[in-house]
Every structure is written in C-alpha cells, then in structure tokens.
Amino acid sequence: MSSPTSTPGRRKRNRDDIPATPKSTAKAGSDGQVSPPSQRRRGQDSSNGDLPAMPTSPATDIASPAVHDTSLFSSPPQLYSLEVDMSSPLMYGTPSSRVEGTPRSGVGGTPARQRPDLGSIRKAPQVDLHSDADGAVASEQALGQKLVIWGTDVNVGTCKEKFQRFLQRFIDPTSNEDENAGLDLNEPLYMQKLEEISVVGEPVLNVNCSHVQSFDADLYRQLISYPQEVIPTFDMAVNELFFERFPDSILEHQIQVRPYNALKTRNMRSLNPEDIDQMITISGMVIRTSQLIPEMQEAFFQCQVCAFSTRVEVDRGRIAEPAVCRNCNTTHSLALIHNRSAFSDKQMIKVQESPDDMPAGQTPHTTIVYAHNDLVDKVQPGDRINITGIYRAVPMRENPRQSNVKSVYKTHIDVIHFRKTDEKRLHGLDEDSDQKLFTEERVQILKELASKPDVYDRLSSALAPSIYEHEDIKKGILLQLFGGTRKDFSQTGRGNFRAEVNILLCGDPGTSKSQLLQYVFNLVPRGQYTSGKGSSAVGLTAYVMKDPETKQLVLQTGALVLSDNGICCIDEFDKMSDSTRSVLHEVMEQQTLSIAKAGIICQLNARTSVLAAANPVESQWNPKKTTIENIQLPHTLLSRFDLIFLMLDPQDEAYDRRLAHHLVALYYQSEEQIEEEFLDMAVLKDYIAYARTYINPRLNEEASQALIEAYVDMRKIGSGRGMVSAYPRQLESLIRLAEAHAKVRFSDKVETIDVEEAKRLQREALKQSATDPRTGFVDISILTTGMSATARKRKEEVAQALKKMIQSKGKTPAMKYQQLFDDLRGQSEAAITKDMFEEALRALADEDYLTVTGKTVRLL
C-alpha cells in the first residue's frame, strides 16, 4: 500500500519472541484463498502458520476492522490488497535472532533488514492463471511456475530465476561508469560486484536498470511496473546466489538490491497519475532535508497485570493497541514500552526540479521524498541528485469526525537509490556525468551541419545575431564555447593544462559588449554572469556561511566555482577591485581555487572560461595609448587572456550603412524572417554540447609542425628589433584555439587548417590589442610586461640623459627639483613630460645614485 508509514516488507525476520515455524509453513497459502479479499495481515500468517485456530492473536484482533477503514487507497489498477502466504517465495529466509555478535552466515543466518522504502509488499496472494483456485493450494511446488502475484503478472519463481541469470551472465564490455572502475569488463559485472560485497561487507547491490533492460526487456518492464513485488524477489535471488557462492561471509544484514537509472527517467514536471506505484527516476536539486524521524515499525506492549509482552506491527502509521491481554485476559492492561519497540530511520527531503528542465516563465516544482534507513542523511541541501524510487499517492487522512474527505492526494517518492550528479565535480573526475542525451535524429542533424564546409562561419554568424558584425570577436567567442582538449600531465608533475579559452573584450562604451556577454550567458548551460562593480572576491570564489537551521558552517560556492565547465561572464572588468581581481590569477591559469577561511581549507575546481568586458579608463578609447594604459589592468592578468579584442566604432561609411540596415531590420523584421536567416539557438546549443562531450581532437603531425613554425615566426618578428614578440603562453593558447576549431568541425584530428585559423585569429586580436601606438608594430610585451619595448628603451634613455646632465654639473650634492626639470627639458630635443622626468628620477634612485626628498634632489 501506499502509505509511507505502512508496514515494511520483511519485518517478520526481526521477531525473536514469536515462535514461528522455521522454513515457513508450507500450506498457509490457503489463507489467502479462503479469506475474503479483505485486509487480513500477513503478520497473522506467520504467527499462526499451521495454527489457524488462534483467533486471540493480537494481530488478528486488530486486523480487519481497523485496517479496513484506514486502507484508504491503492493505485487504481490494483485495488484490493490481499495478504500473501508464507509459502510464497516472497517470504524467503527464516526469522532469525536479533542477538548481535553471534557468528552467522548463510541466508538463514543473516538477518534481513526492513525495507521501508518499498512499503509493505502488497499483500497479494499468488493466483493461478491456469488452473482453478484449489489447485494452487494443493501443490505449490508443481504449480509454482504458473502462479503470479495478485494484481500483477509477476511470477516469483520465474522472476527470481531470470534475475539470477542476469546476475550471472550480464556483461557490459562498453561500460564506462566510474562505479565499475577496477572491474574486469569481460566478466559478469554483477558477480564481481557480489564478490566486492563479500570483501567490503556492505550489503547493497546497485543495479543499473538499463542493464536489466538490455538483458531481459520483460523483466525490466515488470521491475518498473511492480517494483514493490519485484525488488523483494530480486533481493531473494541475490541472497540465495550470494550465500551459495560465499557461504562463509558475514554481512550485517541481507543484501538489498537498489535499482537505479530507470530508463523511464522523467523530469518532475512530467510525473502524472499513471506513475503512481511505479518505479521512476527523476533528477532535481535538494532544497531541504528534515531532521531524522524515528518511525516505529513494531510496538512493544506489556501487560501491567501479568507482565506478558506482545509486539504489534505498525500498519500504515497506526498501532492497533491490543485491548485484551492474551495471557491473563485482563482488558486494557497493555501499555506501550517505548524503548523496547523497534524504530527505523526516516527523513523527509524536498527536491526541486532543476532549472534546466523548466519551461520559461514558470516556477519550479517540488516533490517530497522519503529516505529510509541508511539513505538518511546521504544528501544535503543544494545537491543535485538523480532519485530512483517509487512514486506514491496517499489520500489526505480522514478525520474521524468528518464524513467527507478532502479529495486531494498527497504524493511523495519513497527513495530506493540516490545518485549525486555533481559529485564528480567535487572529486575532480573528468567529464560531465549529466551528459546530455541526444537522439539519433538530432545527432544526424548535427553531423550534417558539421559536414558543411562553411560550418564555422555559419555558427559564428548564428551567435548573437542581434549584434552587428564583429565577426572575429564572434569567432573567438565561438572557439571559447567549444574549448580546447583537456590534457592531463599530472603524472609528469605539471598538472592539468588549461583547456579553457579566456577572452577579454575592451572598447568604447555602448558597443554592445554587455549584450554579447548576456547572450553567451544565456547560451551555455553553466554560465554565470557577474558585474565587476557588484561582485566581491567572496562572491566570485566561495564563502563560508552558517546554516541557519543546522548551525553548521557551510561552504557556499561563488560564481567562478558555479561556472565550472562553463563560462563566467564578467562585465565591467575594469571596475573590479584589486583584491577581487587577484582571485582570478589562480583561476585563469591553474583552473583551481584555493580557499582558506573559517577553518576550511580546500581547493575547488574552477575550470571555467572567462569572458570579460572592460571599458577604457577615459570614457573613450584613446588610440594613442596602449591597451594597458587604456584599461589600466595589471599585465599579469592580461597575459592570461588568450584573445583580447577591441570593440571600437570603425567609423567608415560602408560599415555605417550595413549597421543601419541591420538595426532597422532588427526592429522591424518579423520573427520568421529572422529564423530563416539564422540557426536556431537550440541547435547551436546542442551542437556545442555535443562537440564538448564527444569530440576530443588531437594534434596530428602536420599540425604540430605548423604550430612550431608559427611560434618560431612569432618569436622571429620581434628578435630583429631586440624584443620578445611571443611567449610560450602564446603557443599554448594557439594550440587551444586550434583544438577548438577542430571541435567545430567535429574532427578528431587537429589539422593545418585549424592551426591557420587559430593563427589568423590570434594575429587579429594582437593587431588590435598589442600594437604599439608609437611604432605601429605588434608588440606582445605590451601585454606581458605592461610596457612596449620602445617605451622601455625611451625611459632608459631619459634616465641616462638625466644622469649625464647631473654629472656634467659637477659636484653639487643637492639640486632643486624644478631647476633640474627645466634644465633637462632645455637640453633634450624631444619633449619631456613631468611624468617622464619623475620616472627617470625614480630609475636613478633605484640605482642608488640619488634620492628625492621633497623638492630637493640629493646625490649619494
């Protein structure tokens, strides 16, 4: 039945005081057949066994009337809940002692554990589909194959056999789940897992439903449709198999099967009444967990008069207090002894649908989930999880004083299996677990698109169509969206190479930089958008917060960590405070984030691409100044950007005309026209997701050669003029860009054309951002050291000239500052500003040649 508090399936084995017949009673099946389809309970069978003439059994006393009233509901297709007989294979195992420490092994020796997650097994007798009812009673053995559990088409014997066969034979050579790490893929998978259980001693067997489906579709269907009946059967099958194989192993309790990944995976929104009592898998985010709720499974009563004790099972949240003591026949003498009753753990968890599953403009749905026993406290608020469980609907409890009922059901999920989807992110294992699933047709469409020769241009023009031109910038961002190939050099000690491409856009205000950022943020699944003005270092990294409920310190992650494997868009990068910016140094090269605060020291992954936008310090871009001077960012940070683009107003007529046309069209074209022209945003999204997950291009020989040449060429340019025009960082980013371009083509090899495009893009970006305004040459040192080589040379010259001048003056220990400045200006043929003069003084001071105190300059 559906109540969360209903009787658990195999509680029988927890009894020690009721003398039950071992190996079960062979004939109790008659009970089920004889008794009317009422609510007689299984408890009765086990204690009665062959003794049906024991009407004073407490179980019987309370059974029918109370239960009849309260069994409010069962799922529509199976309306009557009937009892199951002890002879049924569902009742495997024998009641065993609860005494701890007694060595035991084998199925019989290991206590079974209650499975409140399954609720009570529907107390259905097996019915024979083929012969008449009496036959079923007569010879269970012979007819065993034809019996099915009432209301289902599950035959316990067949089901068990099938599952055992599955366990023994299932091989999944293509498995790449991390759970199966270390297992031999060519041996039966689950037998290895059983072996693991015998070693580790954790009696839980997780079974992937897709394995079951590929092995036996019918078994899978039964599992999905009748989990309440089938899972205990699986349990039984596993235990038999296990103890046959490892007869000496000692487990805490019998092995429980936990299926997961039911392919009928749904998002919360699509749950509907048809799913009630079926096994489902949904994904979501934990938003709240309750305190642990001890739930009584078995009440212990003691007679106040004669001290006779009896146990009563809790049935759907109710305890039927025995009215009469069986021993001394005193009425109302039994009292509940709390600390001798049996309890199980329960926890209520609220799960909210993940933001990706939701249609726009609606609020997320939430679902209540109940976790039982060892699943309690497995998840924390904020975790993203996949839940496999049984969907339940319970009618609102009837008020005894009210004759009418609220016609609403309460729904919840009894969880069988949790799987955290973001677990891996914390452990730093590779690749997303929540891989987007693509249908065959979709993949076909994407591949078709990829095979087109102009796919690169197509995609880049589909990017933010409302923003006009800036083709190279869009191409750069496109490559950023795809990213390079992740390489692992941790064996050789260098750690991970960054695969993410970082881009900085700078330029005049009002050149739709923010719009571009917004677009990217909306395009990628794990995008974060922050503004430099509004974010603090803490908001970007992580902060420690005291949870208001539990009073525990919790680490709350900030934008950079949240955009792990995504893109972090930072607007108004220049307005960011220095301390905030300093955080980015680590993230942008090492891709990690170290935190040491409030006693929490840790390193989080932040494999995020940074897309930043900065405005020039003077509201307009000054073409006479270098990039560094214009945006006033530390060069250490700038050199971490692979591409730095300028977004300037080009100011030419043809451009203006195209721009005007574009804008007017933007305002007055209908939706359809727009869609014809450009790729759908959804296609673009899928294309990127597919490439990111499945394509890992590697350099081929020619491409490596081309890269080497490109790098050498870049170094050569500057060497003629005595400056360095490229650093290894440029080579690295060249490789990344080439890889990303190969990804765009869905190619597994990085070829020369990829390198060519990477070179072109990098050259374009450098041309814009690293051109020395004084000489007109591209000078990488502007970005790497913050000063162009010519500027540095000039500074030195001024300093030398000053020194010469002072020396020529002869031995004067002190000079007037202003005097010196005027003299220098008079002497030099080039104009010398005050800044330059001061810089020269500082340079000389560094040489310990002089000191400046106030308005006087002293020689040392």
Binding site: S74, P76, L79, L271, P273, I276, M285, I287, M348, K350, Q352, P359, A360, G361, Q362, T363, H365, T367, P381, G382, A393, P395, R397, N399, Q402, S403, N404, V405, K406, S407, V408, Y409, K410, T411, P465, S466, Y468, G510, T511, S514, Q515, Q518, Y519, N522, S531, G534, D649, Q651, E653, D656, R657, L659, A660, L663, V664, L666, Y667, Y668, I674, M681
Partner: protein, 618 residues
Amino acid sequence: MPSSHDWINKPLGVVEAMFAQSNSNPEWEAKVLEYFKGQLKEKESHSWVPSLNDVPLHYLKPNSLVKFRCLVQDMFDPEFYMGVYETVDPSTKANVLRCGKYKDVTECGVDLNSRNTVTAERQTFYCVPIPGESPWAKEISFLSAARVVPSTSYVPSRQKRSYEEDDDDMDTQPQKQREPHTETPQIQPHGNGDSKRQETEAPSSQTTTPSDCSSHLDLNFPLPGERGPACLVKVYEGLDSFKLNDTLEIYGILSVNPVLTVLGEENMETPEEQRAHDPPASLVPRLHMLYARPLQHNNPLLPSAPTEDQSAFVSSFLVEMASVRAELLAYLTHVLLGDGLAAEYLLLHLISDVYTRRDVLPLGKFTLNLSGCPLNSYTERLYQIVQQLVPCSYRLSMSLHTMNSMRLVPKKDYVANRLVSGALQLARNTSLFLDETQLEQGQLDSSGVRNITALGNLISWQKVDYDFSYHQMEFPCNINVLVTSEGRSLLPSDCQVPLQPQVTPPNMEEYLTTIHMAQFTSQINKFRVYLSLARTLDYSISDEVTKAVEDDFVDMRKDDPQSVTAEDLHRMLVVARLLSLSLGQTTLSRDGWMRAKHIDMLRRSRTEQQKSLNGNEP
C-alpha cells in the same frame, strides 16, 4: 437583466448533470468547458458574473460562478485528486459514481477501494489582484459591475462609499496627504483599514503587533499596502499555457467550504508551509477555474476581449486620435511646468511597450529619466497625475532607507514553499515611477546594492532575476520605468530629458491642482483610452523608409562619427515608432522619421547644454 441563471448560481449542478449524462465518457469534460465558454460569449453575459474584486467575499454565494481579475503570483506543485469516485450509500448499499472535479471536498461515504476511482491532476495558482491597479480602474470596473449583480443579495452602497473616499482623495483634493501606506515601505500585513478586510479578519488579528507576524497570515501581495482578496485558483486544463505574472480574468466556481481549514493535519509539511498553502478559506477562497482569459490590459474603459466590437471601437477612436493627443500633450505640458519637449517624451514613454525580444535584447522599451525635477513633493504630485492616466502604477520612493530595507526581488521561501513576492513582481505595462529625488547621501548596504542592481537589470534587460536561493531564475517582464531625479539618474535609462520649467508657480501644489481640476472626467477618460489603445496598435515599416533611415544614419555619421552611435540609432528607431503610434499611424513615414530625429536633436542639445552648465557631469 435575466431572472435566473443556473449556470451562474449553480454551476456545479450543470457540471454534475453533464457528468451523469456522459456515462464515464471522458469527453464530458470538454463539453463542460465548451458550455461555459459559450455562455460567457453571449453579449454582456460576463458582466452578470459577480467579481471577487468588487464584491466582498461574504456576500458571494459559495459554489457559484464568480470572476476574478488577477495576477498569477505563485504556482504551487501539481496535486492529484479523485476525478471520479464512488460513494456507498449506507442505507441502500448502492454505489454511486461521483465527479470530484471542481470540488475540494468529496461527498460522504467514499469507497476508497473502488475500481472506478480515477485519479486526475490539477495545479494550484496563488493569485492576487493586479498589483498597483489604479483607483480609477477599480472604481470604473466596480461601477459597471454594480449595474448587474444578479446572484447576490449584496447592495453595493456601503462598498461604494469606501471607493468614494478614495475618489475624494484623488480627484477633488489631490493636495491632501495621501494615506501613509503609499510612503511607508514596510509591508503591513493587516490593519490597513479596509472595511472589507476587517470584517473578514478575525478580530484578534488587529491586536497582534507586527512582530507577531508569524501567527498572522501574510497574503503575499507584491506591493506594500495592497488590499483585496487573494485566491487559490485550481487549474484543470492547459497548465502549460499559464505563466507566472500573467494577468488573467478567471471565471470559476467559488469554494469557501470551512471544512478545508479543518482537514489536512498531515505532518509532512511545516506549519509555515501549511499556512501558505492552506490558508483559511474565509480569507483566501478557492476558485475552481472553468475559463480564463488572458488580459492584454486592465483598462475597464476599453473592450477587453479582442472581439469585433473592439476593432470597431479602435477604428472609431482612431479618428480622434490626433486631437486627443494634442489635448493630452497640452495637459502634460502644463503639468510639466510648461516644458513641451518633456511632455512629448513623457507621452511617448507612457505608450511604450516591449513588443518583442531578439535573443536577449528587449525591443520597444523606453525608460525615461526626467532630470532636474523641482524638489519638495513635485514628483509626488506628478505621480498622482500619472496614476490618474494609467491603469496600473507604482511609485517607489528611492530613499536610502527604502532601498536598504525593501524587498524588490521575489524570493523563494523554502520553509513555507512559496515565492515571497517583491515590489518588482508586477503585471505587464505597469508604470513604475522611481523617485530618485528622495535619495540622500549615505551608505547602501548589501541588500541596497542588490536592489539597485535589480532595478538596473530591469531597466536594461526588462527582466528580474528571482532569487531561488540556490540559483536565480530569470523572468522577463514588461514594465515602463520612469525615473525622476535631480541630476542625471544613477540608474541607466534609454533617454534622459532635463526638465526646463517655463513657469515657476509660487505654490506648486495649488498650480497642479488647478490644472487637474480643469480637466473633466470625460476628458481624462479619453486620455486613458488613448494611452491604452495606442500601445496595442500594430506597426510596420516599409522598405522605402528603411532605406531612407539608413541613408540618414550614414549621413549623420559622415559629419561627425562621434555624435551618432548605434545606441542613438536604437533610440531614434524606438522614438520614431512611438511617435507614429501616438498619432495613430501604423507605418513609419518619412515625416515621422524626421520628426523623431528632430525631437531627439532638441533633447540632445538640451542635455549638452545641461552638461556644459554643470560642468561636472560625467
């Protein structure tokens, strides 16, 4: 007025009769909807249905058909209910099939194990009256409804009086201090003095102090000081077609069964959640939706449904469009102290509307920053005049205290499992009047910064990021933002107009009052219709004019590339659009474009002037 309407008085009877006829054929559900839709299509029939907005709850008959003009404030989780169930008659032991649709509570003696039980799904929306609905809009819809209230014994005289009080407040003595609730930002969950509310509330609530709020029911209105009934609407069909913040007119069966509050002692929920999801039916009635009509606007002077009479209405009004515009412009010019240009811009702002979105870019928004506003309560008066013209508005006084303490962005409360509303949860085309003249020097704390950021986002992208604590969720909106400030606003805006008063009346209040008094109600009503109508007109631009605009842009840039940027073209295109619409023209003409260019030039030269005057503008 028809004598009896069973479909209004006893809609459940109609539903049950249809159910009985159906013999469990599921088509009956569609038939029911068809029937009610058909009834409501009939001329004027929808005005016979009493409205929850106008009639106090205790005057409405339970289980009768009512309508409710509202905003979807929150969407609760879907729930399963017994669509069809069987009852057992205790005396005869006969089983009877019953229909559970459109009801909260079942009949006696439900057979819970019946095979015939059908479980169905429905969803609950938490609906509140449209936030910031202007008093005049309420009054007019109320008066038109009061003509025919067939199914209630309610005589609207007393209610009328309370509206008259409002009217006095607004129309005849605008200089009188408004009730304090418009100024104080704190949410006062009770004690707002509405007779209707006081009667329905338990008397004890009036003695509780605000700190004791936990025991009191917070009806979760987006704006402080709002009143009116909130409603739990049970939605059966077309769940996906509704979105948060939709404005709807809902026709449904009223359910105020007191049993609702007694039942449901399930321990799954926290007390807060229970309070939020199952408030007493006497305070928050349930409404089982039969038919819902999305509202394009809530202006009661306009025919609301896009029917034939609306197009007739539009075409008849189009004729006088130009003259009404001239009158309105003159009126606004007076109000803006004789500044014709500012009046022109204000008029354009009032009819602006986000008509589409191109990827992230909202098109058609026109946030106006009116700088150089005289201090001392001028802005307040200005707001009152705007309020008189638009059906929905809200004035947010941006004082430091308000910004630091007020909740602007809705936030999900996971304990009560509901979306706690904020002042930015507004219906479409609401006029948000941001009064920056109230801002003084001081420090914004973190929530103040968040609020300012939220306002900035609202203005630039027309979206509000609702706070879901673990993540944010973006909800697009369509709100007309008007910022009044002394200097340039600290918030972004599409267009800034420095006010240049031509007259300096010695007594500002008196001056404005006189202007206001000079307008007849019929005149004001014309303005109201004009503003709502101009917004709904279609608009297009011919290829020829497109070409001209392009040429013009290139020419302008040729002279001085710095002077005109892409941003300016964006704005001018919007101005041109609004200007054409304000004249009732649905296509852009060359003249229209030149005019738009012209007034934009005027405005820009004025800003330049201001800049050189102050010298310290950034």
